[in-house]
């Protein structure tokens, strides 16, 4: 036995897959940043929407966020994970075929996102927009990735798992859980589905997902990368093993609870909001644990930071991480949220995290990896420094402009004079005040894009100079003997590090606690689904109009959630109640008010006003930056699909009766006739009764009406 244990095995690492992921990261980064810049320009000047459906802001923004998070961020973490996992476990990936399946599957998902989102094919839940066939494909690819990863752990030649691997484990299992639970939906057709959750419940599940996508897609894997690449690049030991342990478990346990901080002052039950707030505050130290451990690891190497671009990117990235994770808990305080929520302050916050933390860690990692993967030298260190400083300036400009925009607009929304009158009753006034800052932001974003192009040039040149046909290095290590408590160690956590299955189960438990405690009371409660109240289901035409609202991404600029705050009810009407959205699949509470809240817009304006406004908002509101929607006036309503939609909604529990279902199409046509007739009577021209605009107006005019008529109980 003993002899066997010592026997050396020879192996090599699969670096081909890492090279693939690195190149994919570079390609998608360019796409994500470019689309972001276009979206920024669209807010500075509506003409950048070009009046084209597939370029309009509401469809482009999901493309930008998906490309940035899942295409750029995703490929970056996979590159780093495949590189470091093999080395930290002293083994090749369990299956090259699975690795390749993961790579090509992921790229295919990204391409299908790029081919569907611009056409308005979307579920309408932020960061989970991809329709059900793609969502399903994500689940499959992720599971293959996970199986490959855990099989690799099983055949490792290193007894204990290093902290980076802990973070990877947390990432893989939690992302799977989040994505599967959030995208349970019933298809209406190949490219349209409705989530099984509605209203409050959908909101809770969505932001549990949304917030933890940030946590387990943009934080834990990047911390894992940091724990590998930073000590490697600095050639220094990790500052504190104990800190790694404490902040890892605290982070994983606490993060999952914090989702409801996206829903403060909404119709979500207040106990859940409070949990979201206090857990966010407790998240500050565990987050900073990672930053502190990283920065203190650099003790004795600080003199090199000025010279070496890799370290510079890591230091700045960690600092941005520290800023974002201090700002996050601050924003999660209810009173701060009441000012900041729905404004550009949140946009500043997320870009500090993504451009600063995710971007810079990735860039640092790539500058370190590429020369090693291609066995050559970086083409130009000084260009990398130029990249750093231009990118850094871009981020600072971006954040300062959006902080000012957010705080200015938030203060204007709430300003009430001594007579109890809103000081800026016209929403557009508050938009025009910050519009110049949208140009400044676009300039910051452009700078970041330019800095990236410098990197792309540098990396291309580096790879071009690489020798052809590099041979993989060969390594030797003894295979592991079967584990026993003795050879695992004497401290409990050390033993745990040698027991991957137990470790994984404990991690799963850590994320399950918060999930269960927040979900169970909310998902099982019937308070939010009072079918006896005055809130009635949408008619077929309104439902169809609602889907157009989702298709055009109106929810990315408009909220439908009036908070119980005086300045808000003065502006929009009584605050929103949970029951009002009980038939909303998906919920439309929104997260950003580039335009005003629409929860009670029904009846506020005549049909003709909406008609003109949708054709060109500037015809009725001077200086509006909302896009024009001319195609909605050309495209025809697909009446035939309405019965199918009603059927799925009925299946999900919306109380439509058999007759409503049977007559759905005819009823919808009659409704459309009525709206068209009212429009014509007010002076609109053209054959309108089969055009989408009629359905959209029917939906907008319904908003808030039931509540105004009858309250909720």
């Amino acid at each position: 036995m003993l002899h066997d244990e010592q026997k050396m095995e020879t192996f090599s690492y699969d670096d081909a897959i890492v090279r693939k992921f690195v190149l994919a990261t570079m390609v998608w980064a360019g796409v994500a940043f470019l689309v972001g810049l276009i979206a920024a320009l669209q807010l500075a000047d509506w003409r950048f929407n070009f009046n084209l459906p597939w370029l309009t802001f509401g469809r482009l923004r999901p493309l930008h966020t998906n490309a940035a998070i899942f295409a750029f961020g995703g490929n970056a973490i996979f590159a780093g994970m495949y590189y470091s996992t093999q080395r930290l476990l002293k083994t090749r990936m369990a299956s090259d075929a699975m690795s390749r399946f993961h790579f090509w599957g992921w790229q295919a998902i990204i391409v299908s996102a790029a081919l569907t989102l611009p056409f308005g094919i979307t579920i309408g839940k932020e960061y989970a927009e991809l329709e059900w066939p793609i969502a399903l494909a994500i689940n499959i690819v992720w599971v293959v990735f996970g199986v490959n990863f855990f099989k690799t752990i099983a055949q490792r030649r290193e007894r204990h798992l290093y902290v980076a691997i802990w973070f990877y484990i947390a990432t893989i299992i939690t992302v799977a859980l989040l994505h599967v639970v959030n995208t349970i939906q019933i298809p209406v057709s190949l490219w349209k589905s409705y989530p099984i959750y509605a209203g409050v419940q959908d909101a809770l599940v969505q932001w549990w997902y949304g917030h933890n996508a940030v946590a387990f897609f943009l934080t834990t894997p990047f911390l894992g990368l940091m724990y590998y690449f930073l000590p490697k690049a600095a050639d220094k030991p990790v500052y504190s093993y104990r800190l790694s342990i404490i902040h890892f478990w605290a982070l994983v346990f606490i993060y999952i609870w914090a989702g409801p901080h996206h829903l403060l002052y909404t119709a979500l039950p207040e106990w859940a909001q409070t949990l979201g707030m206090i857990f966010s505050i407790m998240l500050w130290a565990p987050s900073w644990g990672g930053m502190v451990n990283g920065l203190l690891t650099l003790r004795g190497a600080w003199h090199r930071v000025g010279k070496e671009p890799v370290l510079k990117f890591f230091v700045a990235g960690l600092t941005f991480y520290g800023m974002a994770t201090l700002e996050g808990p601050l924003l999660a305080i209810k009173s701060v949220s009441s000012l900041a929520h729905y404004t550009d302050w949140i946009i500043a916050h997320v870009h500090g995290g993504t451009l600063g933390w995710n971007g810079f860690i990735t860039f640092g990692m790539i500058y370190w990896l590429v020369p090693r993967l291609w066995k050559t030298k970086l083409y130009s260190e000084s260009l990398a420094n130029v990249h750093f400083w231009t990118g850094f300036t871009g981020i600072i400009i971006y954040m300062i402009s959006m902080w000012s925009a957010g705080i200015t607009q938030g203060l204007m929304w709430r300003a009430v004079d001594s007579t109890g009158r809103l000081m800026y009753p016209d929403f557009i006034e508050t938009v025009l005040r910050i519009a110049p800052l949208y140009w400044v932001r676009a300039a910051g974003g452009a700078l970041y894009l330019v800095s990236f192009l410098i990197m792309a040039y540098n990396i291309t040149k580096t790879i071009a100079s690489a020798p052809k046909n590099v041979k993989a290095d060969v390594f030797q290590a003894p295979r592991l003997a079967p584990s026993s408590n003795q050879n695992l160690g004497d401290k409990p956590h050390r033993i745990l590090e040698g027991l991957p299955i137990v470790f994984t189960v404990l991690t799963l438990l850590a994320v399950a606690v918060g999930t269960v405690i927040e979900f169970v009371p909310t998902l099982w409660a019937t308070d939010y689904v009072n079918t006896g109240s005055s809130i009635k289901p949408y008619t077929g035409l309104q439902l169809h109009g609602r889907d157009l609202y989702v298709r055009e991404g109106c929810y990315l600029c408009h909220s439908q959630m009036i908070r119980p705050i005086l300045s808000e009810t003065l502006r929009y009407g009584d605050y929103s109640r949970a029951e009002e959205s009980m038939y909303d699949r998906p919920f439309q509470w929104g997260s950003k008010r580039t335009g005003p809240d629409l929860a009670r817009v029904g009846g506020k304006y005549p049909d003709l006003w909406h008609f003109r406004h949708m054709m060109n908002p500037r015809d009725v509101v001077n200086g509006s930056l909302m896009p024009s929607y001319p195609w909605i006036f050309r495209d025809k309503i697909d009446f035939a699909v309405i019965p199918k939609k009603i059927a799925v909604m009925k299946f999900l529990g919306t109380p439509y009766n058999e007759q409503e279902l049977a007559l759905a199409e005819a009823t919808a046509r009659a409704e459309a006739q009525a709206v068209a007739a009212s429009l014509s009577a007010q002076g609109a021209t053209g054959k309108l009764e089969d055009k989408e605009i009629v359905a959209l107006i029917a939906y907008l005019q319904r908003l808030g009406q039931d509540y105004k008529k009858g309250g909720v109980k």
Partner: protein, 187 residues
């Protein structure tokens, strides 16, 4: 905690070693502090007597309504004569014109000729053409017909001013005017 900077034996992963340092004390104390805060906050607002968000809102709403009510009784509704007086004040009419340009044009047209809303230049009125009646329509709106209420939006100066301006439009006979609606005002 002073750093010992001792390397932990057996901890080496692809050349990465780990030190035996403890937790920075400011860090761990900060962590405890946030936990303490969280506990107290939860205790006060969820288990104790802390007000719910909606309670806080209701209080602020009541204060607001009382303030408005006292303001209202202090400022009696303008009479027909008082409003008529402001018609002669060119400053008022000018202020009214600028309010009209920013808030009313979208629906009533740049010259009052009508569009989404009715023509304001003819002698026909849906809700009455007396100054007090116009004042009431403008101030309270016609909610189910899409005429917004402006009472809470315009200032105490702007409201009579825009009424004066609307009155000045009567009889201007703009081109492309919308057909009259409502009943003819008595001379």
């Amino acid at each position: 905690m002073t750093d010992t900077d001792k390397k932990i034996e057996g901890h080496a992963y692809d050349g990465i070693e780990e030190l035996d340092n403890g937790l920075p004390s400011w860090w761990i104390n900060g962590f405890y502090l946030t936990i303490l805060f969280a506990g107290l906050y939860f205790g006060y607002y969820m288990l104790g007597s802390g007000p719910a968000l909606v309670d806080e809102y209701n209080t602020s709403r009541e204060t607001h309504e009382q303030a408005i009510a006292t303001k209202k009784s202090a400022r009696p509704v303008a009479s027909e004569e008082q409003l008529a007086a402001s018609l002669k004040d060119p400053g008022k009419v000018k202020l009214g014109a600028s309010v009209y340009a920013s808030k009313c044009i979208a629906c009533h047209g740049d010259r009052g000729q009508g569009g989404i809303g009715p023509n304001l230049t003819d002698e026909y009125w849906i809700h009455g053409g007396n100054l007090t009646q116009i004042m009431k329509t403008v101030s309270e709106g016609v909610l189910d017909k899409g005429m917004p209420p402006w009472g809470a939006v315009l200032t105490a100066d702007e409201l009579p001013a825009v009424v004066a301006f609307v009155n000045s439009l009567i009889g201007t006979k703009p081109t492309a005017a919308k057909a009259p609606q409502g009943v003819r005002a008595k001379e």
